[in-house]
Symmetry: C2
Subunit: 363 residues, 2 copies
């Protein structure tokens, strides 16, 4: 365990900021006593809150910012005027080496834009992806991309597989994770050209993963593989469909169990089992999606997460920082690129450069 790990927080992000952020930090600190925090936002709101959580007093620094990125701000607006906001500053802290990772709730598009702009994409990665832990019958799996890239080519999918495998090795603790691409069938000829080509490239690659080919939608719930790779459109729909289905069943179950006195009694007897299941499926307990492929760790919390959920996201940041996720990805990419595709690994921060140029032009 390292002596100290510093997380930067945007105190102003999410539906219940700053309360949930500060309370979440306090819960996380109870769990991980070597954590410290640098907190950005409106100090007139943050400082009074801190008095309610005395365990944070000795391990956090608050930096005042006037600007806050609102939930409906467009990524382009956030880039133009958001770099000295609480969100921008908390990402900048990672860039400047003041924090090992940033944890942010709120406006996902703005987070993505600012994180890409400030931290830049890692060498060998064309586009960052959003990855998260999902609950399965077997335990937990990783899925990516969850919405950062609506359209993806074969290179993107291959890079997602490499990053997802590094995530699984770091957070799930498996040394050679099983990986599959989400598709409409498991036979070789189904799906788009990008999927076909990515499948071929991964079969030939020499990286620490056990590549399994394709998995179908059913495979998400059953936990068929450790890492499910897909484009951001499909990943976003699949994740939300799974969450929505779980919610539907919970509602129907509740309604059903309230129908008669006998069923209510049954629910009472079964309550501890039902609670354990509820906890396994609660998105708060799997909170913390990672923007993979940046030169620095940024973890996104659900905007509506509870304090305990926000603490889970801090936990993901902690695991990632403690176990050198970035180092794993870099090594795997180097191996992959030296054995399979173009031997020259380019500095792939082109997209951030384009954004930078656009901003300069608009000035």
């Amino acid at each position: 365990m390292t002596s100290e790990l510093i997380i930067s927080l945007d105190a102003m992000g999410g539906d219940h900021a700053p309360d949930i952020v500060i309370e979440g930090a306090s819960i996380a600190r109870e769990r991980m006593p070597n954590l410290r925090f640098v907190i950005y936002g409106d100090e007139t709101k943050i400082v009074p809150l801190l008095t309610r959580f005395p365990n944070l007093k000795s391990c956090c620094e608050v930096f005042h910012t006037d600007k806050v990125i609102s939930a409906d701000e467009k990524p382009s607006q956030a880039l133009r005027r958001g770099r000295d906001s609480s969100m921008g500053k908390s990402i900048q802290a990672v860039k400047d080496g003041k924090a090992n990772a940033a944890v942010l709730a709120g406006n996902t598009g703005a987070q993505m834009a600012l994180a890409k702009f400030i931290l830049r994409t890692m060498p060998g990665i064309d586009r960052p992806a959003l990855a998260s832990i999902i609950p399965t019958s077997r335990g937990e799996s990783i899925m990516l991309d969850l919405g950062a890239n609506v359209e993806c080519d074969e290179n993107n999918l291959v890079q997602f597989a490499i990053m997802g495998a590094a995530f699984a090795r770091t957070v799930l603790g498996v040394s050679k994770p099983t990986v599959a691409i989400l598709n409409v069938g498991v036979e070789g000829l189904k799906g788009s050209n990008a999927i076909q080509e990515a499948d071929r490239m991964l079969r030939e690659a020499n990286i620490p993963m056990d590549y399994k080919g394709f998995t179908e939608g059913h495979g998400l719930g059953s936990g068929e593989v450790d890492v499910v790779v897909t484009d951001g459109f499909t990943g976003n729909i699949a994740l939300k469909t799974a969450e929505g289905t779980a919610k539907m069943i919970a509602n129907l179950l509740k309604r059903s169990l309230n129908e008669s006195l006998v069923s209510k009694l049954g629910a009472l007897f079964a309550s501890s089992s039902l609670l354990a299941l509820k906890n396994h499926l609660d998105p708060n307990n799997h909170n913390g999606a990672v923007f993979m492929g940046l030169n620095g760790l940024v973890i996104k919390s659900h905007g509506g997460a509870s304090a305990s959920g926000f603490a889970s996201a801090i936990g993901v940041a902690y695991d990632m920082a403690e176990n050198d996720l970035a180092g794993k990805i870099t090594r795997d990419l180097t191996n992959f690129n030296s054995t399979v595709i173009d031997p020259e690994v380019e500095e792939a921060d082109n997209e951030a450069k384009v954004i930078e140029m656009n901003i300069k032009e608009q000035k």
Copy 2:
């Protein structure tokens, strides 16, 4: 109610054929006494089975075929050698007016290819789509396409919306169904160009539906709208993800309730409520996906459906035939085309023609 309704069956399709098919027909006949059947397949297997279901004796005719399409046969193979198979013949019966609809289990790709080839696409429809009823918190919704078309343009999506609305009016019994396109956000600027353009076209269209714009993955489970429109890749993944999630929760619930004596007792008291929920979510009770947009009704059953599930698929065929689904679609398409896009409605069976040409060339 019409005096008589004839359904053609491929007795040889699905994992447990012909047993499940014949038993399913018997169950359906109990529910709908004006049904008759024309049954295609190996009569040495079918005729002995019929003795076990005396209610079918007076209302079915069996036609022997030697050929059967196997589960792993490719669509192109099915087209070349499958037109006198039990699958081909049961579709041909619809074309020849010997049956009001065909119900088939087994090889989906082969079904789609043969159905398109034999029945052709309706005027005004570029590509048929696979549509099905899905269970929601609110009751039931329709989703399409579920996998017939991996990539879709804006015209396909608009046509899917029209066909889905006609399906909802026929089977769900709503006069002006709510319709939305599945997307990664509800704001106007998210998603692909095809989605953006289809959204614009549907906002301007004059058809009996209440177009709501976009819905996200969460909206499937909550039943936000009556009809969810999407491309076949996303639809297939979303449907299977929802089914997989339901299965995962059922497994976890079962495991959870078996953990202690108290929880087992609870499960016992709650058993009738749990059973009702299980029934609502059981894919067998929503069995029967429709190949929409063909000049004739073809309903696909899950290959692994139970006899009762196969009877549900026959029930869908019955509703569709009884309530003139095809007529509704044709009227809506005519209205849509005359008010919004190109006034000339083309005979859009181009794809089937291409297949036909390919086959001729290969001869």
